[in-house]
Each structure stands twice: as structure tokens, then as C-alpha cells.
Symmetry: C2
Amino acid sequence: MARTTGSDGEKTAAAVREAAVSLIARLGYEAMSMRQLAAEVGVQAAALYRYFPTKEDLLFTLMREHMEGLIEAWGRARPASDDAAVRLAAYVENHIAFHIERRHATHVSNMELRSLSHERLTHILKMRTAYEKELRAILRDGAEAGRFEIDDVGLTAMALIQMMTGVIVWFRPGERLSIHEVTTTYLSMTMRLVGVKTDTREEAHVHEYAQLRA
Amino acid sequence: MARTTGSDGEKTAAAVREAAVSLIARLGYEAMSMRQLAAEVGVQAAALYRYFPTKEDLLFTLMREHMEGLIEAWGRARPASDDAAVRLAAYVENHIAFHIERRHATHVSNMELRSLSHERLTHILKMRTAYEKELRAILRDGAEAGRFEIDDVGLTAMALIQMMTGVIVWFRPGERLSIHEVTTTYLSMTMRLVGVKTDTREEAHVHEYAQLRA
DNA sequence: CTATTAATAAAACGAACGTTCAATTAATTC
DNA sequence: GAATTAATTGAACGTTCGTTTTATTAATAG
């Protein structure tokens, strides 16, 4: 046999990406074989090489697209407000929503970095740094404006990122808590963590904003 | 050749553990070959099987010992105080100190769980759960005693664990911050996160305690 | 000094790996 | 409907993997 009836390059490519994210998240990149991936897609291993020249190219593509998606999502969610608390709330909500929606892809992007070549690792890390820089800017602005109480902006940013991204480790849709409940709780933990000043006029807006997006 | 001059089973076994932790942390369990590990130890691959019957046995042993060490360390560090804030401070300090001291082993224990058999995975997860349960108990006590302000004990515990363990991802000894500075900052972030009540008599003790251990 | 045990080397096993290549068939174009 | 292009198969390549077996040497015990 050769070309199969109804075969379509675009559909196969999409199926490969989807199956790869799921398999790598479950087994790990090194543990997943190209034959396993091919079987999941319903195709022979050789067919995969029509879409991705090497296994590492496949991994890199998945990671790059995930990071691009994250940065793009934040670009759309970023509010114009000059109140750091409003921007922080939006950052937290976008981050949690994005990562919960793409648990598998996040797992891959976070856990398989060591399987990239030095060059490609650098590329992915640059994207990640750019994204995290946005959070540091928010925290710095808030601290300078007296809106937050922060000891160390860099440390606080890392702590918040780890805390938020960690949601994907234990969160399972349809269990005890809804995405909305998780987000609300994480939002309030975040605000306490950065020592946001309460009882001011602006504070009401943050809560309004949170309610609005709920 | 066969047995080499000066060879010693105990020393070799220890060297294998140490090299394995380092190699698995750097390359990943699946990516590390037994031949690579043997070369690092300065021995042939077959010699490894005198100490660990399979590659997975080796991984499991490393993880189990790491978790045992963590639980044991907390057993020694756990204060008798019935003030939840004091106990929380001790938990945070012990957790960060332990994980920074064993960055590689922590990496292995957190990242390579999927390479364990179901049975062994369960065993490790039970140990982990037991350890995390201690934190939840502290948070619950503090919340019930009105010492903390917590929305959801389970969520807060996970958030704190992720935040604290995340230190190993970016912390490098000898860089901008010392272990002590990191711990101090994380301690204050933790206390704010759980909404600890300030300006009480007990609060002074927490700070005293932190200073004492610095 | 001899017998025994501990620790290793050397070689080999079958299986699985990522990848390539040639052949083959489906879809599309003219 | 013939020619071309797109998509895939099936088989094979060389390499590496975890592991086993056997032989060999160092250390130890009697």
C-alpha cells in the first residue's frame, strides 16, 4: 500500500502535533518513539518525516508554537490601565486560563527543554524571558507607585510564575474546583503575596475587573 | 581484566548514586544510558548490575532515599510550638534549605516520576502526600485559630509547595542572592500569602525564630 | 600458601531506536 | 484520460539500548 484514500497533509500534520503533545506529556520526549507516535496517528513511522525532518524538530515546533500562543494571548488580554493591580490581575487570569487549557503542551514546554539543541533552547528561553519580563514590569511599577509591597521584584516574579504554572500539576477539570474558583483563589493569594494596598478607590476596580471576566 | 586494585563495593555503590543523580538531572532518566553512567563512575556497564538489578531500580532507590531524607529532615526541624505561624516558618525554611542543598536529587524526584512502574510511583507519591499533609495541617490549624486568613487550605498548600520548590529552577549558589536572603524573602511572601495576622505578641516570636535559624 | 569470596571486565544477546529509500497508490492538473 | 504531484507504505540501515553470561583478577579467610 501507499497513499491511502482520503489522506490529507494538513489533517495528518495537525493529528501528529496533537498526538505528539499528548504522548510526550504522558511518556516524556525521550521515552516516546516515532513508531508509537505514528501508531497513535494511524500511520507508518516514515510518514512523520514528511512533516517534521527530525524528532527534535517536532519537539521544537510544539514548544515554539506554545510560547507564541502564550505571548499572543497576553497581548490580547493585556489591559490598558495604568493601575498595576489591574494589570497584575489580568496577567494572573490569563496565565492560569492559558495553562489550564493547554496542560499537556505546558508540560512539554516546561519538562523537555533539555532535549533541545543549545541554539533552540536559547530561542525558547528568550521567548519565556520576554513573557516573564512583562510580569516583572508590572511588579516594579506597582512597587514604585506604592501599590504593592515587594521585597524583591525578581524573586516575587519567579515565585508567582512557579505558583501559577504549578496549577497544571494537580488541577483536573471536573473535580472539586472549577477553573473559575481556582482562578479566584489564586488571584487573592497573588494580591496578598504582593501586599496590595486595600481600602483604596482603585481596589474596587480590581474586583470589578475580576468579576467582569468571571 | 576483572577486579581492579583498590575496588570496594561500598565506594562504587556510592559513586554510582552520586553520578546517577547528576546525570539524570542533567540529561533525564531516559536519555541517560547505563554505559554513560558507568563511564562517569569509571567502570564497565556490567558492574552497575552488581548494585542495582535494573535501571529502574536505580531510579526508584534515588527517589525513595530523597523522599525519606526530606521527611526525616522535617521530623528534626519540626518545632513543638502550637503557634501555626512558627510551625509554618519552620516548614518553609526546612523545605527551601533541603531542596536547595539537593537541587539535582529534587529535579530527579520531581521530573522522572513517569518512568516508575505503577506500584513504585504509588509508593513515592504516598511519601510525598504524607509530607504535604503536614503543611495542610499547619495551614488548617492556623486558619481555625484565626492566625491565618486562607480561602482554601488545599489550594494554598499546593501553591506554597510549588512556589518553594520552584526555587531550584532558577537558584544558583553564588549568584546575586544567598540562600539566607532567598529564604527570608520567601518566608515573608509566605506569611503574606496566608494572611498572617501581624502586630500580635506571637508575631514577634516568628521573627525571633527566623533570626535564630539564620 | 591455598581456598574462597568480592568486584569487575569483556563480549555478546535480542530488541528497539531514529531515519532513509524505493515503490506504490490517491488526488489533482492539463 | 494521461501526466504530474501529494501522501503513504514496507523494508531496510546502522546504531544504541538494557541486560546477561562467562571469565578473570583482587582481596580475604583459614
